[in-house]
Amino acid sequence: MKSSHNFRKASASAVADEVLGAAVGKTADLLFSMRAAAVAAYPGFEELRDWGRSRKMEVSGDLATFVRRFSDRLEAAGGAAHFARDAREAVEIVTNIARGLGAVAAVKSKSMTAEEISLNEALPEAGVTVTETDLGEFIIQLAGEKPSHIVAPAIHKDRAQVAALFHETLGSAPGLDVGDLVRVARKALRERFLAADIGITGANFAIAETGTIAIVTNEGNGRLTSALPAVQIAIVGIDKIIPKLSDLPGFLRLLTRSATGQAVSSYVTVITGPRRQGEEEGPSELHVVLLDNGRSPLASGPFREMLHCLHCGACLNSCPVYRAVGGHAYESVYPGPMGDVLSPLLWGMDVYADLPDACTLCGRCAEVCPMRIPLPEYHRKLRVLRAGLKGEAAAWKAEAPAILTQHPLLYRTALGIMRRVLSLGRRLPDGIRTGLPGAWTVCRELPHPREGPDFRSWWEKRKSCHE
């Protein structure tokens, strides 16, 4: 897909960009605190997280069956199910449908899965112009950029930048405020909605029991995209499946509170097949492209719970690394903690070798994840896995701390040696002392063991005093 990505290099310029830092910090802070308030206001939230995880475990434990059930029920409801093993197949399916219809214009509501298969680059080649209709995505499309957050794609832009962009590309007056900018976008996008032949959406949930998809938006663009054009194509990762319609209320509670701190988003559209006999709303054809693209193998491996991700973005908002560098430095559709894990798994460790290191193992992401995905543990596992790819010695080095902590005698001995080495090191001249450990001391100091006995021998002495 792309040559190897260097996170250290890509993040260096992002850290120095003050506008970016302020914009990302402001929105991430707000989303983080809104989530916290919404969770605090809902007493059963912790139990709900456990429930959600167990429902997703059921699906990831038997993924193929649930995929088949979903597609059977979708077809029974009059929809068309398509399977795509990878991005290329998914793009082919969509462009073939578009060509078959002779379509020239598509509107699209926000879909990270469509980003994952680079659909926007492929549609023009099939003669279809595609317009992003989520305001954030529309801004990004006009700017010729990529989204930098899975929920708030234009998080890295401030209002002055958006006003300048609209002035340049849509001919609006310069220096507009947020309300006027939104009105400009409404007018421009409404025309595109009415003219579109195809509506392309993602789905937040795909319900196996009924072949239903659910789309959650605040703007209403998901509803318009799925209601106005004659044909709807939904690109749905097979990880979006939940077992039953009766599971939807619980998952909606988890998703909207985690994503934006809302009890519910403004619009939840629950679609079961195309429009029926006599109805005046909705597409006459509904296609659902079920995308695998590396997901099936995850179900039977050590990273199974990545399939439970709701793409709510809570881990991004809580991550000190994401907040410092923003989304673009990750050079992946999926940034932040969930992206650190998912990107190497979907596109290869060789491409995203650095991402498991874009993590301080602070654990905030695991605290907020509605599905309780053990993200810090997965980062660590990926580092070990990566070391294993480099050879046995590197793998042993990566595992060494784990082995040490599991063997008390070995741990105590190693700690004693470290203390001695470090106190010896203090007497060395500065240049040698900081130079020796290499990259470790670029932006931090070596620990200074205190003089006198270590805690363990101190404690042994105290204990005998008390007895």
Binding site: L30, L135, I139, R159, V182, V264, T272, G282
Partner: protein
């Protein structure tokens, strides 16, 4: 007039989400509706009206208020093969009015189920969405709605909670980005 506790809760939640809720009697409705229409519009304009779903006689009442307020009314037309909107007139409408059978106390959401002539798009395209319901339509939550649903789900169920909004520019909450900037819910009690 006293309201059931569950309706009180709905009103609190819906108002928190930005929906304007007003309780009226059947006799008060035409006057209040005319007041709202007069305050927000400069006729002649177009109003999009659901064709089906209404309790006996209510659609005609609403239509009469619209006409006397200076609005032209567009409705899904019944032709061979079912209902269809006049797309140009729907797109030009400044107000949309529908009957909403069910709404949820838990989140303050309207539940719009699809069906021939139900006119769901009238709650989406115009700047102002006016929705009418009665007290017995109030349910606890979405789980309750699914439990009461008979058979397979309709082709679409839409939950509407407050106006269309976005926070995509600097997380500044702004109303009316694609859908209505104002949602007014009249509860007939």
């Amino acid at each position: 007039m006293s309201k059931p506790e569950i309706v009180e809760r709905y009103i609190r939640m819906a108002q928190a989400a930005g929906t304007d809720v007003e309780c009226v009697s059947g006799a008060e409705l035409p006057g209040r509706l005319a007041e709202l229409l007069g305050a927000v519009n400069k006729p002649p304009e177009i109003a999009a009206l659901a064709a089906s779903g209404w309790p006996e006689g209510l659609r005609e009442t609403v239509e009469a208020v619209l006409v006397s307020s200076g609005f032209e009314v567009t409705m899904p037309r019944k032709e061979q093969g079912g209902y269809s909107w006049d797309r140009d007139r729907l797109a030009a409408a400044s107000v949309g009015i529908v009957w909403c059978e069910r709404y949820l106390a838990d989140t303050g959401s309207l539940v719009l189920a699809s069906g021939p002539g139900m006119g769901g798009l009238a709650t989406l395209l115009p700047e102002i969405s006016i929705v009418l319901s009665d007290a017995k339509g109030c349910l606890e939550d979405l789980a309750d709605f699914f439990r009461q649903m008979e058979g397979a789900p309709p082709s679409r169920i839409t939950l509407v909670t407050g106006p269309s909004r976005t926070g995509d520019i600097e997380a500044t909450m702004t109303k009316g980005v694609h859908g209505p900037g104002k949602v007014a819910h009249f509860l007939l009690l």
